[in-house]
């Protein structure tokens, strides 16, 4: 009984501690400005979508959001295109130098991405893609790709080779067996890792704000205008950034432990 009360008590504390800031920022983004600046008013008289509307429409927030989505989509697409076959090779083949390659991919994860941001601008300017979304996507890919390689290695090694071999025995080629047997089995895990990759790109702020001036992603836009815009716009922007990430993590919570285990190694 005492244990039960303890559990309930601690659970409530945890929920309050972690959810209150989230709740309050959503509340602030929906609070009319006169209520927000009224020191005596904690809960607003009514809720309004004014700030969100202004953020999206008047302040071009929709464009930054769209930019973020495009960057994430490109980075994810590129990372999986290049990284999935690499992950497959690292699980299914035995060859000299495999561990060294794997380790060096792992090592890139402990590498502060901000140190590459400055030279990247010069490279992009030389390539003629300075200040474009594609250039941001390329930079995001440089840290999402190692994650994708490692995560697909772990997902694929969780799928018995024998399924694939059975496919080969019963008439499929090696590639056919991968496409028809292994890929469908790996799909839930791969989808979850794509969502994680999305969150990584969606949240990245340093590189995006260094690399772009006109075509900014949402966090870069916020970082660069936060100090000059009214508070409730900041909170609207914070809400816009937080909600999709929270929803996505809800859908992938089953994979949470393994994903973060990999992405942090």
């Amino acid at each position: 009984m005492i244990k039960k009360i303890f559990i309930i008590f601690v659970s409530i504390l945890i929920i309050l501690w972690f959810l209150t800031p989230v709740f309050l920022i959503v509340l602030a983004s929906l609070t009319p400005s006169e209520d927000y600046y009224d020191q005596q008013r904690i809960l607003p008289k009514r809720l309004t979508f004014d700030h969100l509307y202004k953020l999206f429409v008047v302040l071009d927030g929709w464009r930054a959001t769209l930019n973020s989505l495009q960057v994430a989509a490109m980075a994810i697409g590129l990372s999986f295109l290049v990284g999935l076959p690499a992950g497959y090779v690292l699980t299914r083949y035995v060859f000299p130098g495999k561990n060294a390659i794997r380790l060096s991919i792992l090592l890139t994860r402990s590498f502060p991405t901000l140190i590459i941001a400055v030279p990247l601008i010069m490279i992009y300017l030389r390539l003629g893609i300075g200040d474009t979304l594609f250039s941001v996507a390329l930079a995001h890919t440089s840290f999402i790709l190692p994650f994708v390689v490692l995560i697909t290695t772990s997902i694929l090694s969780g799928i018995s080779v024998e399924y694939e071999e059975a496919g080969m025995i019963f008439g499929l080629s090696r590639i056919g067996a991968f496409m028809k047997i292994t890929l469908p089995l790996a799909l839930p895990g791969l989808a979850a890792s794509a969502i994680f990759a999305f969150i990584m790109s969606w949240n990245e702020v340093f590189i995006s704000s260094v690399l772009t001036f006109v075509n900014r992603t949402l966090p870069a836009q916020i970082l660069n205008t936060a100090m000059t815009s009214p508070d409730y716009f900041k909170f609207a922007a914070g809400t816009v950034m937080a909600i999709p990430a929270m929803v996505f993590i809800f859908f992938t919570r089953k994979y949470l432990m393994s994903m973060w285990g990999i992405s942090l190694k």
Partner: protein, 367 residues
């Protein structure tokens, strides 16, 4: 159905020689067991035959077709995997039908064959289920049904019974064997379980260190082991081994060491006499536990040994006696109802017509 011929097959993984020169010819329609301890290369050999593993050197023929460099799908083999590898995202029906779907069979033909295979394996009522809803034994039946549905030339099985519980394993043994006899498909079956090998195989290839040590019928393997390894690997409890010298005295041959002095029977004398070149060589005497008895019938063919009973394993049907005999331990298998106590002194008799003698140098059997 096909004859399988393998010539000087080698498979190296880096510096590890998994297969080191395999030569074997498997007759059409035979059930052949590859038997050996783990790491002996039996699974690698099976995988080379299937095409899942590329060979380093040597050739594999199905009948007269050289399949060495063909991918698995072009070999007309099928396989039952150790983990069954029943695809979890397909229902049982689809699992069995898939090999035919890949090969472009028409729908009616597929259905007819799936129903036939399912009926043969007694899984007709499971066709609509997913593998996750099946027990291990049922999954195994699905794997077998999938493997036979296309009537392959060669059926490969990689320790298919090792994941089943003991009771099911015994019943599946006979069922698989009967199925193979009915279908007549050339079957190659990998196991480390000698009982499985002895009961199922028409022929057994005993492997060790990437080499086939002996290829023969179960009777040959058991009664005429080709070398010390095969003699020691087959049979439980293990064969007793003792180092001896062979001495010639007055037209008689003696196997002798500090504790034994055995005069060879006339049959063995002639058989062995021809094979001995150097009198000073050391040999290994091998005696199976069941060939050491508590009673003798004919003094000339039995050699007595006397020692103290060190330990007794009562297995019900048998009694395994560990006898301390002049510094060595000799294991004997006696009937289940013998009255012996630990610590007592016991006299037993070696059946001299059933002894084995191996060369100590290369381990090869002499008699």
């Amino acid at each position: 159905m096909a004859k399988v011929r393998i010539e000087n097959l080698k498979k190296y993984f880096g510096s590890v020689k998994a297969l080191n020169g395999i030569d074997i010819e498997i007759k059409d329609g035979k059930f052949v067991v590859l038997l050996g301890p783990s790491g002996c290369g039996k699974t690698t050999l099976l995988r080379c035959i299937s095409g899942l593993e590329k060979v380093t050197e040597g050739k594999i023929f199905f009948d007269s077709t050289d399949v060495t460099n063909l991918p698995p799908k072009s070999r007309n083999v099928s396989m039952v995997f150790q983990s069954y590898a029943v695809w979890p995202h397909m229902k049982v029906y689809e699992n069995i039908a898939y090999p035919m779907k890949i090969k472009g069979y028409d729908k009616n033909k597929i259905e007819e064959k799936v129903l036939w295979a399912a009926k043969t394996l007694n899984i007709s009522e499971l066709l609509d289920r997913y593998p996750a809803q099946l027990s291990g034994g049922q999954r195994q039946r699905v794997a077998v049904a999938r493997a036979i549905v296309l009537e392959p030339e060669v059926l490969l099985m990689d320790e298919p019974l090792s994941n089943l519980d003991a009771l099911l394993r015994v019943s599946m043994r006979s069922e698989l064997k009967k199925l193979q006899e009915r279908l007549g498909t050339t079957t190659i079956y990998v196991t480390h379980d000698q009982v499985e090998a002895m009961t199922m195989g028409d022929e057994i290839a005993v492997m060790q260190n990437g080499v086939i040590q002996q290829y023969g019928t179960p009777e040959e393997i058991y009664h005429k082991p080709a070398n010390v390894f095969v003699a020691g690997f087959i049979g439980s409890p293990q064969m007793n081994f003792m180092e001896v010298q062979i001495l010639k005295e007055k037209n008689e041959l003696f196997l002798r060491n500090e504790s034994l002095n055995i005069r060879l029977t006339d049959d063995l004398k002639t058989e062995l006499g021809n094979k001995i070149q150097n009198k000073n060589d050391v040999f290994i005497l091998g005696i199976r536990p069941e060939n050491i008895h508590k009673e003798k019938t004919d003094i000339s063919k039995f050699e007595p040994i006397e020692g103290k009973v060190y330990f007794i394993e009562r297995l019900g049907s048998d009694t395994i006696v560990h006898l301390e005999f002049k510094g060595t331990r000799i294991v004997s298998k006696l009937p289940g109802d013998v009255k012996i106590n630990e610590g007592e002194s016991l006299k037993m008799y070696i059946d001299l017509s059933k002894i084995h003698v191996f060369s100590k140098i290369d381990g090869k059997a002499l008699i």
